[in-house]
């Protein structure tokens, strides 16, 4: 604040520069963007319905068809229950991977250009968009959990397990949304993005433990799955929703997912604003 700024007060946004104020702007901004996504969903119920169809097909068609393949269910009685966390994570993955597309589509272009000219940190813009994807994924997951309950597919119901797996799902979805923004910033055109999105999403899905135990995979694919964040997301949810002792440990699942989010959010905060200009 130099003397030259006297007589021209900043807007009454009461700008503070300390780290705490920056963190406050980050959190408020991110929360505001997540909140808006929920409001939009409320105006558009059809979207939730149409997006629920695919996971239900996986669960009831694919899951029922392979119900009797004993080796597939990873030691859990009901294969449909076994793949339920995988299907939730998959549905969330597809929401997230195509989320970066919004900007190339020019749907959110004006909004994001404006946000760049506000005191909100760039990381907040990226996390805000990512949390929008998480909100959609959570709504889908809750619908799917309700279906599991109604269809009497037995999972290990516990408040902690359900909440914990939703938190892990939200973190995982946000990190894939950040990955998507990085890709969007790099490829820049919608046509190319559609191709890249498929190219990234399908291998992530199949080279993970979403549909089968890792033990069934050939060694090289198992190695790929071990560096695939979707594996950790699914295995963490399996631990919490099915009490299945899969993977290393629950804290590892959370730590890997969180690390992935940190890396891609950081990258997206650097690259994504350039795609907006």
């Amino acid at each position: 604040m130099s003397a030259s700024s006297a007589g021209f007060p900043a807007g009454s946004a009461e700008l503070r520069l300390d780290p705490l104020a920056r963190l406050g702007r980050l959190v408020t901004g991110t929360a505001a963007m997540a909140r808006v996504e929920l409001q939009k969903l409320r105006h558009d119920n059809l979207d939730i319905l149409t997006r629920s169809v695919q996971p239900l097909l996986w669960l009831f068609v694919f899951g029922t068809a392979l119900q009797h393949a004993r080796s597939l269910n990873g030691g859990y009685g009901d294969y449909r229950a076994y793949i339920a966390p995988g299907v939730m994570a998959q549905a969330a993955l597809f929401v997230a991977i195509f989320y970066g597309l919004a900007v190339i589509w020019e749907r959110d272009l004006g909004q994001l250009q404006r946000l760049l000219a506000t005191p909100m940190p760039r990381l907040g813009i990226v996390l805000g968009k990512a949390s929008g994807a998480s909100v959609r994924a959570l709504v889908q997951a809750v619908v799917l959990l309700a279906v599991l309950a109604v269809a009497r597919i037995h999972i290990h119901w516990s408040v902690g397990g359900v909440l914990g797996s939703l938190v892990l799902l939200a973190l995982g979805t946000a990190s894939f949304a950040c990955l998507s923004m990085v890709l969007a910033a790099l490829v820049k055109t919608r046509e190319r993005f559609m191709g890249i999105g498929q190219l990234v999403a399908m291998p992530l899905f199949f080279a993970s433990s979403a549909l089968y135990p890792l033990a069934l995979l050939p060694l090289w694919l198992r190695a790929v799955a071990r560096v695939n964040p979707l594996t950790y997301e699914v295995e963490g949810m399996r631990r919490m929703l099915l009490s299945l002792p899969v993977g290393d440990a629950l804290w590892v699942d959370f730590a890997v997912t969180f690390a992935f989010l940190a890396v891609f959010a950081g990258l997206a905060a650097r690259l994504y604003p350039r795609a907006i200009l």
Binding site: G7, F8, A10, G29, K40
Partner: protein, 267 residues
Amino acid sequence: MTETQPAILVDDLVVRFDDVTAVDGVSFAVEPGEIFGLLGPNGAGKTTTVRVLTTVLRPTAGRARVAGHDTVAEGLHVRAAIGYIPQAISVDAALTGRQSLEFYARVNGVPRRERKARIDGAIETMGLAALVDRLARTLSGGMLRRLEVATALLTRPRVLFLDEPTVGLDPTARRAVWQHLETLRAEEGTTLLVTTHLMDEAERYCERIAIMDLGRLAAQGTPQELRDEFGADNLDDVFAAATGHEIVEGGSFRDVRQQRRLSRRLG
């Protein structure tokens, strides 16, 4: 005491992208409370200039001060003092006007206890009371622009940047948008920098004008000064005299696509 401090000061600004020079040594100043028009065809460098002034883009050379702060060294202070309405639509079609207002109040850090009063004030200034609870996708182009201006007023900006605010609007809606901008200036003393490629609009509503062409400033002054200087009847002729050519359509494929899409959506 600091009445003479300009709201916007641009000093020999240069912006280069790879091998293209978008802004090439531009200087101008805007006084507090002024409606200033940045004029020129698509591709003249108007939007690039605005992006530097809103701190989104770093200049290659030269400097700019907005509301008394350097846009590079004190970017955060600038961002806290300004409002920016880009050409692309910045309110969500799937939200009501009020929800968009609440969103921008939150992301701009308007204190919780002041939110309602500020939102109500912005609704009144922009004459939106009857529309604000409708989904944005049901609003006309002129109403949308007024809603966007309202969302930018929540922080009580000292300087408001509007990039082609009337593009894609019919003449009636254009007039309404301008009348509300004039009200805003009169009531709040907000400094307005408006880019446009419509000469007649600039002539009627802007107090001072800078004409840009190919990244350079071709002329600046009040509309009257410009007409006198170039012995012309209107700004179209001023433009031709100042630049040596008629307004030709510039802009890349991307600009054109974006503008057409915008016009279609604003209907």
